[in-house]
């Protein structure tokens, strides 16, 4: 395998194509323009459909249609566009259709700006649209990991019939890193979709629904979803730990902040502070258990985010008062430097 130098946006597009992506629908928005451009250039050449929709609302409903028709499908956008997709995402969840949604987050709320941010954590992990549902939410922190997690997103989404989201930020989309990509997946390895609408030939009609007027039956539909979510929680929690064995202070950070925190841990250790890092890779399901375990022996658990403290709530749920849980965040697209985070670490490690 050769190392390619790719932007995060390009690596995600290439990985999706290699995952057997058949239909990609989009509406342009910064900072994920390169993803759209890459798809426009490459996907048609490689047997897929690229279509620029008239809006994000249309794009996500095209995804809903393509998913119902039984193909691997994806859309991508950034924060304001993801807000518009929420209705369609709720329908995907309700109808149990697999699909991948990429959110390269930017500063908000409202139009905000195009700088990196992590303000959509609540939206991504707690539902976002209406109804009782979850997405599988994967948070890459490097370009190679972004490619890897896109392939995983397709796989998990198919396996559980739950839409999956890649939650990254503008910085990861724009930056370049060497990436080694696996060869395209064998189409025969992609799970069958006996429920898809393919024409009721030699079988009873397949119907894709997200509604039932009879409360008892809708409850049962919901229970199927809930059972699936419990299964995902049991099987799919993913995280990375660094230098946690003897940590006196644990940083919890994901995505771009997760990688910046690695530099902070190294520097803190050089200065004699035993810092460690837990980096959630799945934001839903969230790694409550490993954080809980660490909080039994680490006195301080510092959450670092590009938000006003969203993942922080989950960290506190995991810690349940066993350790101090300070928070450090930046807002509006401002990204803290390793030095700034280090000074927070020092303050809390000694204070």
């Amino acid at each position: 395998m050769t190392r390619m130098l790719l932007r995060g946006n390009e690596a995600i597009a290439e990985a999706a194509i290699r995952s057997g992506l058949k239909c990609y629908f989009c509406y342009p928005i910064t900072p994920q323009g390169e993803l759209v451009e890459y798809m426009a250039r490459e996907l048609p050449k490689r047997g897929g459909v690229f279509l620029q929709a008239e809006s994000e609302v249309a794009a996500i409903n095209m995804v809903y249609g393509a998913a119902a028709a039984g193909v691997r499908t994806m859309t991508s956008s950034s924060s304001p566009g993801i807000s518009l997709k929420q209705e369609g995402i709720s329908y995907l969840a309700g109808a149990r259709l697999p699909a991948v949604i990429v959110n390269m987050m930017r500063g908000g709320p409202g139009l905000g700006n195009i700088a990196p941010a992590q303000g959509d954590y609540f939206q991504a992990t707690k539902g976002g649209g209406h109804g009782d549902y979850h997405l599988i939410v994967l948070a890459p922190s490097t370009v190679p990991e972004a490619a890897q997690l896109v392939m995983l997103a397709f796989e998990l989404s198919d396996r559980y019939r739950v839409p999956a989201m890649i939650l990254a930020d503008g910085m990861l989309g724009q930056m370049m890193e060497p990436v080694e990509l696996p060869p395209p997946v064998d189409p025969k390895g992609i799970p069958q979709r006996p429920w898809a609408v393919t024409g009721a030939k030699g079988r009873p009609p397949n119907v894709i629904l997200s509604f039932d007027l009879e409360p008892q039956r809708l409850k049962e539909m919901n229970l199927v979803l809930q059972e699936t979510y419990r299964e995902i929680e049991r099987n799919e929690v993913r995280w990375e730990e660094m230098a946690t064995d003897d940590a006196q202070i644990l940083i919890v950070a994901y995505g771009t902040m997760g990688r910046i925190a690695k530099t902070v841990v190294r520097r803190a250790r050089k200065e004699g502070i035993r810092a460690g890092l837990l980096r959630p890779i799945t934001l839903w399901p969230f790694p409550y258990e490993p954080i809980r375990r660490l909080s039994e022996r680490v006195p301080t658990v510092l959450t670092v985010e590009l938000s006003a403290g969203q993942m922080w709530e989950d960290v506190r749920l995991a810690v349940e008062g066993r350790a101090k849980t300070p928070f450090y965040g930046e807002l509006g697209g401002v990204v803290p430097t390793p030095k700034e985070i280090l000074s927070e670490v020092k303050r809390h490690a000694t204070g």
Partner: protein, 185 residues
């Protein structure tokens, strides 16, 4: 080893490409690399910068507080980043457009008249490769040949094969220009 380099200049001075060539050259020599651009409408006609990190182990932060090297192509860029360069670091600056000396005395300064050299080469747009050549000489982490190959790769990808030759000369001129200030090394 972990080296952070900031390239900064006007949009259109080829700053992002210079950074990309360094990153690709590093990758081709087996290093870990990151390339992080400033992005957005600010780049249209405004200032541009990018940060390249070269390391021999996986890279954490692609953002650098105190770069080991700065390539400043115009005065606003030097004004903005000079103070941030690490002690004993390196500043390659475009003396064709920057009328002042460095304020810092604890860094190595390498003035390169990039616009003048590029004009002599008959290709004003090669200023970025002149500056990169000088940086490579002073930095020593990535050989000139690796950068030549990486530059050729980038230009080929853009359908600009015919510019490879002059850019090669630009890299070489920058490389030898820096030698004037590093004679003792």
């Amino acid at each position: 080893m972990e080296l952070g380099v900031i390239f900064a200049g006007f949009g259109g001075q080829g700053i992002l490409l210079a950074g990309k060539v360094l990153a690709r050259a590093g990758m081709d020599r087996g290093l870990e690399v990151t390339w992080l651009p400033s992005y957005g409408p600010e780049m249209r006609g405004g200032t541009a910068n990018c940060t390249v990190v070269l390391a021999d182990e996986p890279i954490g932060s692609p953002i650098v507080d105190a770069p080991q090297a700065l390539v400043a192509m115009n005065l606003p860029s030097l004004d903005r980043f000079e103070g941030r360069v690490a002690k004993d670091g390196l500043i390659v600056y475009n003396s064709s457009l920057i009328p002042r000396a460095l304020k810092r005395s604890d860094v190595r300064g390498i003035p390169v008249p990039a616009n003048d050299i590029a004009r002599q080469l008959g290709s004003p747009r090669t200023i970025n490769m002149v500056a990169l050549g000088a940086l490579l000489r002073a930095l020593g982490a990535v050989p000139l040949e690796a950068a030549e190959e990486a530059m050729a790769h980038e230009l080929r990808a853009r359908g600009r094969e015919r510019l490879i030759e002059v850019n090669q000369r630009a890299l070489a001129r920058g490389f030898s220009e820096a030698g004037k200030y590093l004679g003792d090394r």
